[in-house]
Symmetry: C2
Subunit: 369 residues, 2 copies
């Protein structure tokens, strides 16, 4: 049988999956219309609603990765010619612009420096000026490690009659989410970050205003695969065939969600926060500095400016030694932060002091002298 | 931990995954840019090329189910206003029409009765009349159990300058494929049929003519997620990040492909054929008759007209008894064949005499008296 090397995954995702999640996934398959599987799908949908903080009926795991979730939200909610305002605080905001433009949207982007967060006033100004059909931004920008405040921007968007789309790929199950209270109309995430599942599914949710927009489209959703009305046939009361659901991945997600609720989000959030603080204190002694200002840092994704000792050798070479000699993966920078930062993920099962200490010991060894 | 009931999956898919595939999937994760995983991706791509019968560099597992593969092929190869000819011999041909129409294609459909195969002459006539940019049809129509001859239609399409797209969701790893020799430009499949993997990936391949068409598009591919040029950044020599690959599912696919090559396609095809013949002989004694004429039957998907004994009780009730009392799933009919046929899959690991006999014994017990 094919075997893989043992890795501690402390990059921007995937993170390590819990052994019980892997065991759940490895059970013999059942059919996608099996009554036992449909019960499990009900349970997954209910648990996702609680985790997103929503009563949205249309809450489901999409059969694609987190980026597929982004694709699905825009494909359903944007029509050719629609004005869209997108907040760009990093690579995933950039990606939103590309996705929306390809669907025919007229995109107005609001930028901030990578590592900072979008200013409420700049977003509100663009929204007032453009009067967009939709406003989209990223809660946890995985390329920079910054945590975006949501409520003021969402309020400005809704006051102007726009839908609000939020990327929660990296925040779900690591930070508290309350999308209904925040006024978010559509949200998507991934399984391979704080849920500690393998990648391959995108938990997503669509509210009543979003579904109304879909129902009133002038043009059909260009993607049959991601059409939320068709998906509602299977992930709704009728449970009719649309495409074959990724059974094993959904079983793994069910187990992961069960574990999240067993721990409780309060304890889980505190665990992520404590692990991040332990990491930042430890790496400070080795000369790493956080890219993001205090108060805006993501606990599960720590972006670290590199000490001269690392850039002198070449940061990729040091990462490769961490992988080859210690079995530890950390992430490099993306886009304009490539070569300037590392991204250290402490996500889900890996947000623990003993994991932080293992990384710190390996780093100390590699950066000695 | 969440547990599922034991099922023998003899419907239209998913089929049962081999235990080694499930164990391979359940290994601890590695990263999607880990050198060990990139080697595995190379291996998967090479094995898929051999299985499809192609030298296409751009052969890859798409991060979506088989229906996502259909979406990806049309999204890349169709532009608004393009004329497209689609052969409709069942539900999946119908689905192609929906997918293509949503993308702005002007679709000309060529129909045949469900359970029959498309006539070469009818397809050639439509192609000559419409001069389409693209011709698409289904090799193994999972809704009817009919096996479509490919070469004559593909030749007519290419002679007219059209691209040829073929759905091989149910045929891959159960019937010999030779897409280069047949003149097919783009193909997609699924993992949950004759490969005996869980659902969630779509093995696909794009030839030089298809990629040239993409390069010359007047409009960008509307789907960022499925854009084959972007996917080529990761599933090509550069191995740059596009989206996070579904690691575990690809590891499972690698193990499944290894097993297929270990057995050899000749033996595998013969095994599927023998299992189908054993099934048809056995169910004939119980009053089931094949929907499809001899010579056009798919060995891995047997569509059976129901005896009066079954329709009298209600076919869904009998299927439910098979599931509840014997743990065996068989499929009902779809669309215009709903209530009229069962679809019995003998796919991959399940194409074995002892599996057929288990179904026959259960059926005999349930239909007695």
């Amino acid at each position: 049988m094919i075997t893989l090397p043992a890795r501690l995954l402390l990059g921007p995702g995937p993170s390590n999956a819990h052994p019980d999640v892997l065991s759940a996934m490895a059970q013999p398959l059942v059919g996608h219309l099996d009554p036992a599987f449909l019960d499990l799908a009900d349970e997954v949908q209910a648990r996702l609603r609680r985790l997103f903080g929503t009563a949205n009926r249309m809450t489901l795991p999409l059969s694609a990765t987190g980026s597929g979730g982004m694709q699905a939200c825009f494909a359903n909610l944007v029509e050719p010619g629609d004005a869209v305002v997108i907040g760009v605080a990093g690579l995933f905001g950039e990606r939103m612009c590309d996705v929306a433009t390809r669907l025919g949207a007229r995109v107005t982007r609001v930028d901030c420096a990578w590592g900072e967060v979008l200013a409420d006033a700049a977003m509100a100004e663009a929204i007032a000026r453009v009067r967009p059909a939709l406003v989209a931004f990223v809660h946890a920008e995985t390329s920079t490690g910054a945590r975006q405040p949501v409520e003021a921007i969402a309020r400005a968007a809704r006051d102007a009659g726009a839908l609000v789309v939020l990327d929660c790929v990296t925040s779900l199950a690591g930070l508290p989410l309350a999308i209904d209270a925040w006024g978010v109309d559509a949200v998507y995430s991934g399984t391979q970050k704080c849920l500690s599942c393998p990648p391959g599914l995108s938990p997503a949710s669509f509210g009543a205003r979003a579904l109304e927009r879909v129902a009133q489209r002038r043009t059909p959703v260009s993607s049959w695969y991601f059409d939320v009305e068709l998906l509602g046939g299977y992930f709704g009361e009728r449970r009719v065939y649309h495409h074959t659901a990724p059974i094993s991945a959904i079983v793994g997600l069910a187990e992961a969600l069960r574990r999240v609720e067993e721990e409780g989000m309060e304890a889980r959030v505190a665990r992520h926060q404590a692990a991040s603080e332990r990491l930042l204190a430890g790496v400070a002694k080795l000369g790493f500095e956080p890219l993001v200002a205090a108060g805006h840092r993501l606990p599960m994704l720590n972006s670290l400016l590199l000490p001269e000792r690392v850039t002198r050798e070449g940061e990729a070479a040091v990462r490769r030694r961490l992988l080859d000699r210690h079995g530890i993966e950390v992430g490099g920078g993306l886009g304009k932060l490539a070569g300037r930062i590392w991204r250290v993920g402490l996500m889900g099962e890996n947000a623990r002091p003993e994991i932080v200490d293992r990384l710190l010991a390996a780093l100390a060894e590699e950066l000695r002298g």
